[in-house]
């Protein structure tokens, strides 16, 4: 019997125009039905109807949290205020993720159009895009797009003669991961340090300049015009029971095809990594895939066939996050990986609350101690206990999720932590006698002359002298050198 092995195709909603239209020419966006969704809502829909359509579509925030977008708009819409704001969160700080950047560079008008639709829905006349200063091309394309939209009357006063005014301004970030958190982002927009506030009040009640504010992510916005044009039923028909539509992932790491993939919710990681990603690079074995960046965790072989959506990915110990997906091969040291993430979070901790400021630093120090072979078995218990403390008591999402990379890897790869804690980890190179052809290349490159052997005879590493520089590994023509 034949089985269907055809990979599921990618399905582009958020990335529908990226690469197909010239992002610096508004006419090309209009030619693919751009700004028709805005025209449709302004001429046919009441603001409440727009909110209803987005609610019915079950679109959820693509920035990581997965909060229902329609509900966020409704909460902001029902506040009474002389001014309200729409903010586009384009502070894509998750290392290894670049979906928002691609949308902003490849299809900036879709975001502008969606922001105007959102403005109409909640009763706001002003939008801000908070964008990383590290993305100069996206900034310049957005600036161009805003000016073109203004000159066509698609931003500004009395859009489509509907009496609705909406304009958008760019605001630059300055390199702070915590600003992805919406209250920190709002503080940064106001020229302050990007420190988060306690919630409530939520931004929908008191946000930018103390006014009702809806903060939505770039990818979330990119879905909006398509939902308006094709209807909520269409959007609902894609995806899983609780997660509708598609998700863009930034596939990177040790995989053959790196880049962005957009797949329906419910696609499995195996399909993404093997069918789309072309498998692991350099013929290595798969070890794990890291999702959710510094807030997420690792997923191993046994869960590769789980259909991915917001709920299922949590159940298998990670999180959707903004869509970073880093493939790890057999060579990846999981303790070093945790240390890498904690180095990031302890550096990016804003310092406002103690559990995050001090806790992440101590976590990093324990991991550093372990990898320096100076740790003890007690460190493992301490690591877990402190991780739970930091998770439970930090003020914002950064601290609450910072220990996730540790908890996830210690659960699945405990033996790697123990090898460091009990100091049984091998740290030097050695030679596989059966493979060695005695070519002498390794002994010639060894900077400390600790490899000996006769020509055409297996060579030996004096492991007491080895400094683990890896020169022999790179020099060996027959892969006979065994890594630590």
């Amino acid at each position: 019997m034949m089985t269907d092995t055809t990979p599921k195709m990618q399905y582009r909603i958020a990335l529908r125009n990226c690469g197909f239209i010239n992002p610096e020419n508004i006419d090309e966006y209009i030619a693919v039905k751009g700004y028709q969704a805005l025209g449709k809502v302004l001429s046919e829909y009441t603001p409440q109807k727009v909110v209803n359509v987005i609610k019915e579509s079950h679109l959820r925030g693509r920035g990581g949290g997965g909060f229902p977008t329609g509900l966020k708009w409704e909460l902001t819409a029902r506040e009474t205020s002389d001014e309200k704001y729409i903010i586009c969160n384009a502070d894509e700080g998750d290392p290894g993720a670049f979906m928002d950047r691609s949308i902003l560079e490849g299809d900036p008008h879709s975001v502008l159009e969606a922001m105007a639709i959102a403005g109409y829905a909640i009763g706001s006349n002003k939008g801000y895009i908070y964008i990383r200063a590290e993305y100069p091309l996206a900034i310049s394309r957005l600036q161009t797009a805003i000016e073109q939209a203004r000159s066509y009357g698609l931003l500004g006063n009395d859009i489509f003669s509907s009496g609705f005014d909406f304009d958008i301004e760019l605001k630059l970030g300055a390199g702070a991961f915590v600003c992805g958190e919406e209250t920190a982002l709002i503080n940064s927009l106001q020229g302050l340090r990007g420190e988060p506030n306690k919630k409530p009040p939520f931004p929908s009640v008191s946000g930018f300049r103390g006014k009702p504010t809806s903060v939505n992510n770039v990818e979330t916005f990119a879905n909006i015009p398509a939902i308006i044009m094709k209807g909520p039923e269409w959007f609902q028909s894609i995806g899983t029971k609780h997660s509708k539509g598609t998700k863009v992932f930034a596939l990177a790491g040790k995989v053959n095809n790196v880049g962005l993939v957009e797949v329906p919710m419910g696609t499995t990681l195996r399909e993404i990594i093997y069918d789309i990603g072309g498998g692991i690079s350099d013929g290595k074995a798969f070890k794990a895939v890291q999702t959710g960046g510094p807030s997420g965790g690792v997923i191993t072989e046994e869960n590769l066939d789980t259909p991915i959506d917001y709920e299922s990915i949590r159940k298998i110990g990670s999180m959707m996050g903004s869509g970073g997906m880093i493939v790890l091969d057999e060579d990846t040291d999981m303790v070093e990986l945790s240390k890498f993430y904690l180095d990031f979070t302890q550096d990016e901790s804003c310092g406002k609350c103690t559990p995050c400021r001090i806790g992440t630093k101590r976590l990093y120090e324990i991991l550093d101690r372990l990898t320096q072979m100076e740790g003890t078995p007690e460190d493992l218990d301490l690591l877990e206990e402190l991780s739970h403390n930091v998770k439970d008591s930090s003020l914002c999402g950064l601290g609450q999720s910072a220990p996730n990379p540790i908890l996830s890897t210690i659960d699945r790869f405990r033996e790697e932590y123990e090898a460091y804690a009990y100091r049984t980890k091998k740290t030097t190179y050695s030679i596989d006698e059966d493979k060695c052809i005695g070519c002498t290349k390794c002994s010639r490159v060894c900077p400390v002359d600790c490899i000996t052997g006769e020509v055409k005879q297996p060579h030996v590493v004096d492991e007491s002298e080895c400094i683990a520089c890896g020169a022999c590994y790179n020099a060996c023509p027959v892969d006979a050198i065994i890594k630590p």
Binding site: G93, P95, F98, E134, G173, S188, R193, A252, K254, I326
Partner: protein
């Protein structure tokens, strides 16, 4: 902070005038500090302490608030970078593909620590947050130029290339 020259005489006066004009034209100066600092860094390359005072004075806010913001955001430099400012991306994709050894190689060859400048003022090296070029990992940038799939050997070639360019000029 030590002694700070509050006369601003060691700063380029034309650039200061330009910055002052920019500040005066702002619609909402009270919430524009980050934009002003971006402009200041673009003009001067870095934001030394007396320039922070200048910004504070013209925005009519405390110097502590300015310094608080400058030191909070990693994009702003208080120290002057080298003529060739080398950034090694430390995003996860670059990291798993060996960005840490590339960084180490650069620092070792230039004999400096991370975030510092060589004695001749030619090079500075730092690690930066993900620049979103994960498909090219590991990535090194020098000024606006991006180098992808960088190996240790390529990193050394990059230094030689810029040193050569400098010597030719």
């Amino acid at each position: 902070m030590g002694n700070i020259d509050l006369s601003f005489t060691n700063l380029d006066q034309d650039k200061l005038t330009e910055l002052k004009t920019y500040i005066n034209e702002l619609e909402r100066p009270e919430e524009s500090l980050i934009h002003v600092l971006h402009r200041a860094q673009k003009l001067f390359g870095h934001i030394p302490h007396n320039l922070q005072f200048f910004v504070a004075k013209h925005l009519n806010i405390g110097a502590a608030r300015v310094n608080g913001v400058v030191s909070f955001y990693s994009f702003f430099n208080e120290e002057k970078p080298g003529e060739y400012d080398i950034s090694v991306c430390m995003g996860t994709a670059c990291y798993v593909r060996g960005a840490d050894t590339v960084l180490h190689t650069l620092l070792e060859r230039l004999e400096i620590d991370k975030g510092h400048v060589t004695e001749d003022g030619l090079f500075s090296v730092r690690d930066v947050r993900c620049i979103g070029a994960c498909g090219l990992a590991p990535v090194v940038t020098v000024g606006e130029k991006v180098y992808g799939h960088v190996t240790d050997d390529m990193a050394l070639d990059i230094i030689d290339k810029y040193r050569g360019e400098h010597n030719d000029n």
